[in-house]
Amino acid sequence: MMSLDFIAATFMRLMAALQVTLSVWALSVFIGAFIGGGVAWMRVSGVKPVEWLARAYVFVFRGTPLLVQLFIVYYGLSSFPVIRGSVFWLFLRDAFNCAALSCALCTAAYQSEIFRGALAGVPHGQVEAARACGMSGFLLFRRVIFPIALRQALPAYSTEVISMVKATALVSLVTLWDVMSVALKIRNDTLVTYTPLLIAGAIYFVVNYLIARAFIFIEQWLSPHLRSRSA
């Protein structure tokens, strides 16, 4: 019963579904980076009400499960006739948009904390030196703060990005055909208990492994000064 044909066919179907998983992932990480950047910027803005708003955002989105957020967006918002009648409905009626939106809002909260930590980790002396050379504003940010902060953010950022790959499995619960839901469907249709889930797990694992390797590569590439000279 457990033929190679079945394994191959399951693998192909799951690989086809990987596109949905990766689209939700890439979109949410990308959009989340912008929102997260904005929230981090609000957090260090020095204006109390703005800072407070950013804190509240992080508190709410990190303090509740993504599944709840997803269901509020997908099931909750669509239950209001006002929203169903508005222009937002063009966007929200699609499960894919809801999934990407809630994943983006959630990862933005985590990413903003990573950005904030990285900004706080830029040595004061570097900023002072740049100021002493007459740099300020955007130039200071682009040439000094951003490159240093980026390097410091990378390890935590890779963890967050990988955890988002895993989080996208939740979109299977809002009718999207990602790797997880296709695996469950094959399982239900064929009554083969483990193979579909095992293959799905292997696919997720390999994707995460590749992302982790990519980040290690980027990290090494961006910190040539830390490489030992003999190596």
Binding site: L67, Q69, I72, Y75, A169, S172, Y194, L197
Partner: protein, 238 residues
């Protein structure tokens, strides 16, 4: 005041159901954290033991469960543990399907995920224990068990508190995934309420608020525990 009746304790209110769900979330996450602590310390010990094979097995387990989606682990543990139990029951002569209780499967799923992360927390905490203290304990002639009980365990726990606090939050949030197995924890309770009243927004927001309460409150508890556990330690000037 429509939502007040909806969330209230009256006949048509789902307030008690949600609160019960929140209690269940606490229990199942707590059981999961405990299972994770057992697995995590075992893996940490395997990695620190210097025995190559033990370390490799521990590392393999941790890497595997950190690389798989939590939802997949929940499904796998749920289906897998039932199949295992059924097979065992067949060996003992019991016919038919034997299901693992959703609570046990859920706690186990949260536990194996949490354990893969707790391993690093415990390993780091052990390495933070000053070598001199262990040497001193040996010098006064303490045996391995006594040394573990008096010197190592208390300090490892102290250093592990911040990391465990983070993982507790993760366990609380991961426990929402157990709702797919039918265990009536907070997520499932909100789902049931919204399905039977057709007010998804009200109930998911209420469920989310309760999660927020749980995470915020436990954050305070761990902060307090950390301050208390480190009260005798010298603080670095900040």
């Amino acid at each position: 005041m429509d939502w007040l009746t909806a969330l209230g304790f009256g006949e048509r209110g789902w307030g008690p159901a949600l609160l019960q769900g929140a209690m269940m979330t606490l229990f199942v996450s707590g059981a999961g954290l405990a299972i994770g602590a057992a697995l995590g310390s075992l893996v940490a010990w395997a990695k620190l033991s210097g025995v190559r094979i033990a370390g490799a097995i521990g590392e393999g387990y941790a890497a595997l469960f950190r690389g798989l989606p939590e939802l997949l682990v929940v499904y796998f543990v749920y289906f897998g543990s039932s199949a295992l139990l059924t097979a065992t029951a067949h060996l003992l002569g019991v016919e038919g399907f034997v299901g693992v209780p959703a609570f046990a499967a859920g706690a186990l799923a949260v536990g194996v995920i949490s354990g893969s992360y707790q391993a690093e927390v415990f390993r780091g905490a052990f390495l933070a224990v000053a070598k001199g203290e262990i040497e001193a304990a040996r010098a006064v002639g303490m045996g391995r068990l006594l040394m573990f009980r008096r010197i190592i365990a208390p300090q490892v726990l102290r250093y592990a508190i911040p990391g465990l606090g983070n993982l507790w939050q993760v366990a609380l949030k991961d426990s929402s995934l157990i709702s797919v197995t039918g265990l009536t924890e907070l997520m499932r309770a909100s789902q049931l309420a919204s399905n039977s009243t057709h007010k998804p927004f009200t109930y998911y927001v209420a469920g989310g608020a309760l999660y927020l309460l749980l995470t915020a409150f436990s954050d305070r508890v761990f902060d307090f525990a950390e301050r208390r556990a480190t009260r005798g330690m010298r603080r670095e000037a900040t």
